[in-house]
């Protein structure tokens, strides 16, 4: 998607790939569970997963981010696969709580997974929602955070830090896991461990671009622009890593 257009949220795809792979590969039940994509620009990862699972046709990937395309660069109400998504950051967890409350009222056993990014934790609404979910002991709610230490202006820790992140979530009353977000087994173990009557958060520590050596250090991590030469180098590097 990003290589075809020469632009897009490539870094977010790199940091969150394993999180989505584990969630959709082993835990999320399509048509039953609910998925909230709070940072809409992560849609690129979701589209890749959807194509891999056959939930959308691969041909759609080629029009990612183009005028009139189904797969918009920042997801919207017409984006497939998500029950709720936000472009304005910090709002997704509140909506996820609405789903979790509705499931509790209906006793339907549907689990709500909310994907959040670390940068949006600077928005106060996230913490209003965190407080509420713990108070109401929403066991049917799991938050996955891509902690890639990246926001538009640079590393989160250099803007207004949100650390110590795990301590904050624990203090807010959540069952908290702090894991290597590129370690598939660690993510799997966190999601699989028995529930404890509380909402759960999995903080996935990830790297946004540094695993790709071909990308120059000056690359804008939030929104990557690629030329054909760089694209070829990155593709070769990724193929070698996966081989």
């Amino acid at each position: 998607m990003v290589s075809i257009q020469g632009f897009g949220y490539f870094g977010q795809a790199l940091s969150a790939a394993e999180i989505f792979a584990v969630l959709y590969g082993s835990f999320f039940k399509p048509g039953h569970d609910r998925f909230v994509l709070s940072p809409g620009h992560y849609a690129v990862v979701l589209f890749a997963v959807a194509a891999e699972l056959g939930l959308i046709e691969r041909k759609h990937l080629a029009s990612y981010g183009l005028d009139g395309a189904l797969l918009e660069a920042i997801s919207t109400e017409r984006t497939p696969m998500v029950d709720l998504t936000c472009g304005s950051l910090g709002q997704g967890l509140s909506g996820a709580i609405g789903f979790a409350l509705a499931s509790r009222l209906a006793s339907d056993g549907r689990h709500t997974y909310a994907f959040l990014s670390d940068g949006e934790m600077e928005e106060g609404q996230v913490w209003e929602a965190a407080m509420f979910a713990a108070h109401h002991r929403l066991e049917g709610l799991t938050v996955l955070i891509d902690a890639n230490d990246s926001q538009v202006d640079g590393p989160v820790t250099e803007q207004t830090t949100i650390e110590p992140l795990a301590d904050k979530w624990r203090a807010f009353g959540w069952e908290t896991f702090d894991v290597d977000g590129h370690d598939v087994q660690a993510l799997h173990a966190a999601l699989q461990s028995p529930r404890q009557g509380r909402p759960r958060v999995v903080i996935a520590r990830t790297e946004i671009l540094s695993r790709i050596r071909a990308l120059p250090a000056s690359t804008d991590a939030h929104f990557v622009k690629l030329d054909p030469q760089l694209t070829a180098a990155i593709e070769a590097e990724l193929e070698a890593q996966l081989a």
Partner: protein
């Protein structure tokens, strides 16, 4: 239609919401720490399984309401109008209005009916809510309107903003008054001036009309509880039969009823002078309803002055009689 001082009703919204919830299992109620003040103590006490107090977190409340609405609930969220519009505008826009979800926002204590000063006075809520695509906006004046508006709002697909007086609610209209969520009501007809009002300015407008008619002017009175979508055909038709149009709202003159009427008249090509009674692009201050409505030009006399000075310039302005409201009754300032 009754005459002031009006009898009062207590908690018409809270009672109607409780009755609605009893009939419809999809109805749920969220509050933000102002439960008694928003009349939702009734549902909290009688149907606690349908009520959650989110606490002082309006943005979170709107987001939760959106999620519940996506799951099939019709959600009423409640606070003071100033808090459940300004504090969470982006949330209302993105989590409710854009996806057109069944969430009804009840905003109490409109305009300068709050003694609490600018922090508690919703003077721009109509403008904010009116600007949002998919949003329906009601500014309600009377117990019969409020009672019916709860059901009407629940039946409208999409978000609705209900602007509600807090506390003692006047009973202005008779038993047969129908609020359908669409129409403006022409309450009287006269050829000189068309007074168009919503919400708490309806009683003042009716009283002003009486004073003006006694002084020899023909007065048309229009009650327009639906600020969006405005019943433009009815309003333009009523306005076209007069020489002067005056809107009256307990709100800034920027962006509310007056602006909506101006747009409707201009788009219809109706060239009539328009005067807008309301807060003249200013924040107010703390004080009693009597003090604030008088000082900020929302009184019966202010409407009389505007009409008379436009139509009979240079002549003595008739004086509105002082309304004495006994305890347990309501009269406009």
């Amino acid at each position: 239609m009754r005459k002031p001082p009006y009898e009062i009703a207590l908690k018409p919204y809270g009672k109607a919401l409780l009755e609605l919830a009893a009939r419809r299992p999809d109805v749920f109620c969220l509050g933000a720490d102002l439960t008694r003040q928003t009349e939702t103590d009734l549902i909290r006490e009688q149907m606690p399984e349908r009520f959650i107090n989110v606490g002082m977190a309006e943005a979170n409340m709107i987001g939760i309401a959106g999620g519940m609405a996506r799951a099939g609930h019709t959600v009423f969220v409640n606070s003071f109008g100033v808090f459940c519009t300004r504090r969470c505008y982006d949330q209302i826009a993105m989590a409710l209005a854009y996806p057109k979800l069944n969430v009804k926002i009840a905003g109490f204590m409109p305009g300068v009916s709050s003694p609490g000063g600018p922090s508690h006075q919703a003077i721009d809520d109509l403008a904010l809510m009116r600007a949002l695509p998919n949003m329906t906006v009601f500014d309600l004046s009377d117990a019969a309107e409020i009672t019916q508006a709860v059901q009407v709002a629940a039946d409208i697909p999409g978000p609705v903003y209900l602007r509600l007086k807090r506390g003692e609610i006047p009973v202005i209209f008779g038993e047969g008054h129908v609020f359908d969520g669409r129409r403006a009501h022409v309450l009287s007809r006269g050829a000189d001036v068309c007074l168009i009002a919503s919400g708490m300015m309806v009683p003042a407008t009716l009283a002003a009309a009486e004073v003006l008619e006694a002084a020899g002017l023909g007065v048309t009175v229009v009650n327009s509880p639906v600020v969006k979508p405005l019943d433009a055909p009815s309003i333009v038709e009523a306005a076209a039969a007069t020489r002067l149009v005056i809107t009256a709202e307990n709100h800034s003159v920027v962006g509310g009823l007056g602006s909506a009427v101006a747009e409707a008249m201009a788009e219809a090509g109706l060239g009539r002078r328009l005067l807008r009674i309301g807060l003249q692009d200013t924040f107010a201050e703390s004080g009693s309803r009597e003090f604030l409505f008088d000082k900020y030009g929302l009184s019966v006399q202010a409407i009389v002055n505007a009409a008379w000075q436009a139509l009979r310039p240079g002549t003595e302005v008739p004086q509105a009689p002082q309304q004495q409201a006994e305890p347990g009754t309501y009269a406009p300032v």
